[in-house]
Symmetry: C2
Subunit: 504 residues, 2 copies
């Protein structure tokens, strides 16, 4: 392992440069009142976890991930509109997964009533890790900087997941990229090849474009964007900058936050032409919502009776959804796994496109009664064999995975039919690099693992079961790094840290 | 008293709009580690005190304050270079005030060695309150909104003090002005006539201009601006935005912070041509400092032997000082009081200029053996008469004042010669308005008092004892509001709140 890049004497000064930058730029997590022993009528905030020094990442793989993003956007746009295909996946899953059943039934009701809005907006994020089958691994002891770079450059880009719903991190990633570029300029660290990041701008631009594409039912009402949010949100510094940047557009676009689902029910209603009417607490006249930007409604617990009702109202409305219920469903892990089946990609892309994307897929299998499924079950029931796998529920997002040797006992303990909820994915074995991280939890210096996310920003129109693509753009990136021995990349919990790749 | 503008139900939502804006934009105070019971390797931050709704302020007086700023700049530029006149004030004061003696002796040594830099930069702030001799006062019970407006519009603009050194608040004021304009746009409050604020930009522009005006001794060294700061600063959100904005200039200008006086002594030295050389911890090559921007060195306790040595080195150097030791001395309360003497203004301004500024002066007197001084002592020794006065030490800044009935006992308790340190100023009697404030200390709703500060940004060249003015501009404003019954406007202590005038 190479020497650390900063010495102890220097550390305090570097930390104060970092934390002052973060405090001044809102690179923070809100601390809910009551968490700390501190009497104050106002909230507190603390810097979000960040790398102290940018972590190295190979430029070819970084560029590859950028390059293929528009193809992934296209794939998921087409998957989103192919509800016949989605139904073949969702129907069996819905029998064992109540959440999936609820989402699908919302779609069915929307479909049966007939959609009044065919335009869709999507903000996607494709997450990758590097995978290396032959590691000169840090685990195996001291490794030179040269060996680390060899491992990284020789590794393959593998997709962890493709997120279609409530993709977070764009604002934080933009701020941390700017911070590291600033610190480099000031000589605080020596990283030189730091890519710019337009993540926040691309999110704002696609929402603004969708807002302007919305055709109102009457010319008299003021229009606004609605962002659904979870109550007691600590991650406001990722969401709010989008709102503020929209207000600086010319002409300004106002975005209102509503908590899902209480406030949605209290403040929203459908007009005679299914326009989504929103009454802000401070205004007497309702506004007409142009775009519903979803930053809540991804956890199953949010879908009680009221939650289903709220989601249904939003989906049925004339507002452009970012994303629709179908795009939401397209982000299920089960869909990702189905796309790895031979021939599946070719349903949506030409052979060349399919051949570009397929190498980024990690092997993954259903856990069901099919032949593949029975093979997967055999692996998953064997402690040794399971070591190299991760079991993932079909939910959106991370944080519910079961890893390696824990899989057999876990599968043993659940009812047999529940198994079908899961997919079994070969573990990505990322080469480690050296990192220096600080979060509210820790100061860490040692072997780390990074995850690269590439954002996509799209607008399209449904046409039958096809899609007419209007905007398909790459939208910046997120880059997160964690200590090598932590399974979760959670930034809110203080393990994962926003980072900027130092490309080589 | 008029009804509050927000009702209780609405308050929580408005507070969350405010605090999210503040957290996202760095409108914060840093919470030093150890102050709160919260284990974390990183600092915390909390929103700085702000008005929840903009406080009303009369437009004519706001415009008058803007209008006269360039004249005040000119006055203090000329005072700064008239060291013969300053000496007549400083000499007697230095006998009883050790701090003044130290500052003046620094000037004498700089003068005797000969200055190598004749360019000066000044960032000033002239502070005002409204004064009303006949108040339909909130103290006297319920007052209608109409009466409040009458009191405000009928009042006179009176200068509290003119600050020449380390003028703070420009960044906070800019953020809070932007915040209230944003909240108005969103309909969170109904204030409509909210002035824009270019305070931060004007500070950055004058520093950038001074940086480019600096003629280096050699073309090879990199140049940077140096900002002196106090250790363990909680107010980084007022200072750091200047640094970040300078880095976004084209070409970028790098600003380094050094703590006064330890780090100044460790990292700075004078080159053969008295160029100020600075070695950042992270670079091996020293930089040549173009501008020394003082945000420390205003408290007497900072001037131990090392503090005097550090200040002397900075003053002797070729760097452009913002401000010089002479401008620093020009900001003494004693100078402000001397300028109110008949004929004093005419030494520096033409009769028309003098007649424009004089009405903003509150009556103020020396406390010494002169006839005026003996009169002042008579007032100050009488509890009844002293009621309408405030006793101010000659120090820069506020926070050491003795008010009204406390004056006689205070003067009784100090050695007779110490009295000469002070000036006696008639209390400004500001009309109150209704305000709603939130700070880490309190949520307050009731009668409030506001203070308006107008920034000035100047560059000039000393020419004998005269000044050749190169840049003389108004530079935005600060506006702070406090509960009417609190003497101090301290934002850091949580009494004063940054605010935006709602002009009428």
């Amino acid at each position: 392992m190479e020497v650390p890049i900063i010495d102890e004497d220097h550390a305090e000064r570097v930390l104060s440069e970092l934390e002052d930058y973060q405090i001044s730029h809102g690179s923070l997590l809100k601390v809910p009142r009551g968490l700390v022993d501190f009497e104050s009528p106002t909230a507190l905030a603390r810097p979000v976890g960040v790398s102290i020094v940018p972590t190295i990442f190979p430029q070819p793989q970084f560029e590859q991930a950028q390059y293929i993003q528009r193809l992934f956007n296209e794939l998921y746009i087409k998957v989103s509109e192919d509800d016949a295909w989605l139904e073949t996946i969702t129907r069996p899953l819905a029998r064992v997964d109540e959440f999936v059943a609820k989402l699908w039934s919302i779609w069915e009701r929307v479909r049966d009533e007939g959609e009044v809005q065919k335009l869709r907006c999507g903000i996607f994020r494709s997450d990758y890790m590097l995978h290396c089958s032959d590691l000169r691994n840090l685990d195996r002891g001291a490794t030179s900087d040269e060996d680390i770079r060899k491992d990284l450059i020789g590794s393959k880009l593998k997709q962890v997941e493709f997120n279609t719903y409530s993709c977070a991190g764009g604002s934080h990633a933009t701020m941390v990229a700017n911070m590291h570029r600033y610190l480099a300029q000031k000589g605080t660290h020596e990283a030189t090849n730091l890519p710019a990041n337009n993540a926040l701008r691309s999110i704002v631009e696609v929402l603004a474009k969708a807002h302007h594409a919305y055709v109102p039912t009457s010319g008299t009402r003021k229009r606004a964007i609605l962002m659904t949010v979870q109550p007691n949100n600590v991650n406001i510094c990722d969401e709010r900058p989008i709102e503020y940047a929209l207000s600086e557009c010319d002409p300004p676009i106002i975005l209102y936050r509503v908590e899902f689902s209480d406030e949605v029910m209290q403040s929203c209603s459908l007009g005679p032409d299914r326009e989504l009417l929103f009454r802000p607490p401070s205004r007497s006249q309702p506004l007409e919502i142009s775009v519903v930007y979803q930053r809540a409604g991804y956890d199953s617990h949010e879908y009680d009776e009221q939650g289903v009702g709220a989601r249904l109202m939003l989906e049925k409305s004339r507002a452009i959804k970012c994303p629709t219920i179908l795009s939401h469903i397209a982000g299920l892990k089960k869909v990702q796994q189905e796309l790895t089946r031979p021939g599946a990609l070719e349903r949506f892309l030409d052979p060349e496109g399919a051949s570009i994307l397929r190498p980024t897929f990690a092997p993954q299998f259903p856990v069901d009664e099919s032949e593949d499924g029975r093979n997967a079950l055999r692996i998953a029931s064997d402690r040794e064999a399971a070591e190299n796998y991760v079991l993932k529920p079909s939910l959106e997002g991370g944080g519910h995975n079961i890893f390696g040797r824990d899989i057999p006992d876990f599968l043993e303990a659940i009812p047999p039919q529940e198994k079908n909820k899961y997919i079994l994915m070969e573990k990505i074995r990322p080469p480690m690099s050296h990192g220096i991280l600080v979060s509210p939890m820790m100061i860490f210096q040692g072997p780390v693992i990074s995850e690269l996310g590439i954002l996509g920003a799209c607008i399209w129109r449904r046409d039958g079961q096809n899609a007419e693509i209007i905007t398909n753009s790459r939208g910046g990136w997120t880059f997160k790094t964690k200590p090598h021995d932590v399974e979760e990349m959670s930034v809110v919990k203080g393990y994962g840290c926003f980072d900027c790749p130092s490309l080589f």
